[in-house]
């Protein structure tokens, strides 16, 4: 996939008026997450969780600081910080994840005779697609509809964790928190000097030069 915001690094804004002490503290905490740290998931669940995150939000292998998505979801579950709402067909946050990880691994074992993290990307995708379509029936799911779990819990938690990380912000040209400094030029196709410059095809160098000045 071509880099649409070449040379853009949102962390360059660290000492600009866009950030204050609070921003720096929050982002530093997020950048310091150990990708292998897990306080909620058990050692048995952890490889399954990492494999799921790698399939839902795959990251380029050459990325210097990939987003530690599984560890971020783990932190959310460890803190048990819910969203303030949930689909009533699903059990509470922690229980839903525990049950689902056990069920996903059980599906892999019953279908392919191996753990989920051992079956390879292609079969993992097949299994995740089956879950997305509700075409799984292992008794480990209990009364929890797999389809609903995929839509309302798995996608929601994994994708929000990914896009809360500066690595994802750089990818989509997002400027991070709009406070203390927000935006001035609100019209279509206008850009403040502290926003990422999107490359037009063939004009990557221009965007790269502009992105070097962001901050």
């Amino acid at each position: 996939m071509p880099d649409r915001y070449p040379g853009y690094d949102v962390l360059q804004k660290r000492h600009s008026p866009s950030w204050n002490d609070q921003t720096r503290a929050v982002i530093d905490r997020r950048m310091a997450i150990d990708p292998d740290h897990h306080a909620f998931f058990s050692d048995a669940e952890w490889p399954t969780m990492r494999a799921i995150c790698d399939r839902i939000v795959p990251q380029p292998p050459n990325r210097l600081h990939p987003a530690p998505v599984a560890a971020m979801v783990d932190q959310k579950l460890h803190d048990n910080s819910g969203d303030g709402y949930r689909d009533a067909r699903l059990p509470p946050l922690r229980e839903a994840w525990r049950r689902a990880l056990a069920a996903i691994d059980a599906e892999a074992t019953s279908r392919y005779g191996r753990h989920f993290h051992e079956i390879g990307a292609l079969l993992q995708d097949d299994l995740l697609k089956a879950i997305q379509n509700g075409e799984v029936d292992d008794k480990a799911w209990g009364d929890m509809p797999a389809k609903i779990f995929f839509q309302k819990r798995l996608l929601h938690d994994v994708v929000s964790a990914y896009y809360a990380h500066p690595a994802a912000w750089n990818e989509i040209g997002f400027g991070g928190p709009a406070s203390p400094r927000g935006y001035v030029r609100m019209n279509f196709d206008r850009r403040d000097p502290w926003e990422a410059a999107e490359a037009r095809p063939g004009r990557e160098d221009k965007a790269r030069a502009e992105n070097a000045r962001v901050g």
Binding site: P17, P180, R181, V184, R185, R191, D192, P193
Partner: protein
Amino acid sequence: MRRADAALDFAANAALIGAAVLLVLRPRLVARAANSPLLPKARDLAVAGARALVPPAPPPLSWHVSTARQLSRLIASYSPTRIATARALTKRAGRRLNGSSALLAFSVLADSAVEHYRGSFANRAMYTPLVTSALTLGGSLFGMADARPKKHTVRDTIYAAAAATGFAGLCFHAYNVLKRPGGASWNNLFYAAPIGAPMALALAGLLGRGAERVRDVPPRQRPTILGMPAGRALAAVAAGGLFGTVGEAALLHFRGAFQNPAMVLPVTVPPVAAALLGAAALRPNRQTNRLARWWLRFTALLGLGGVGFHIFGVSRAMGGWRNWSQNVLNGPPLPAPPSFSGLALAGLAALSLIEDETDA
């Protein structure tokens, strides 16, 4: 429709840029065009219109009173001290008008630089007011320093260009408002190109033209503009300009919800000053003139104090002055309030001309 818009855009841009380039490279050509025979015809029409608006002359005095007065005036007008005082007064008024033009031009230069930078100079024509207001500022400062009681062709031409740019800018800004979804809605009047802003440049040009007329008066004559006594004409321009600027301040301070009580001042003080100036132009008398003078002085001070209030306003936005790159652009415009000062100073100069016109 879009193609027609683009063609219109292109033609207007080309004309404006061409005018700016011509003004720099061939000022004489522009001066000659400004003196073409077409202009006097248009001017005669405007004069006829303006005459229709001027109140009728007072009834004639009885013949012996008027003859005696005319005789004494005629004799007095030949007195050398009187000639010298009159010339000094018009010259001084002319230089003061140059000064008010300079202040307006400075305000426009700074304001259009900031606001058009904010607009990313999306339209090339957005550079035009920077060029013309910088020229106007330079010409006006030269006019203030220039003690010769004569008009200066280059200055006069620059002022004409400033007035033309101001009126063209008005059209551009109106087009910018109207082309947005919703057209002339409150939202667009608040957030699209400000309708009133280019008028400050037009006023700088008009007052500058007035300055050049006023300072170039043959002995024993009074300055006139478009056939009207210069003091009255300039008072009308200054009062009209003040009312227009009040409209702009009212719109934007309403947008700001008058959240600071001081935001009421620029929509209450200048209208009184403008009304008194208008009254002094129509029916000058000692008391009206004095009142008008004080209110105009107050307005001039208010324009300078407004910058202080706007500096405070920027500091109150999220991040304050440390976040200047957002707050100077999004906060209250720092260079806007001196427009009031420029117009008030022009009003004061016009007032002294009116007094000279009427006390004889």
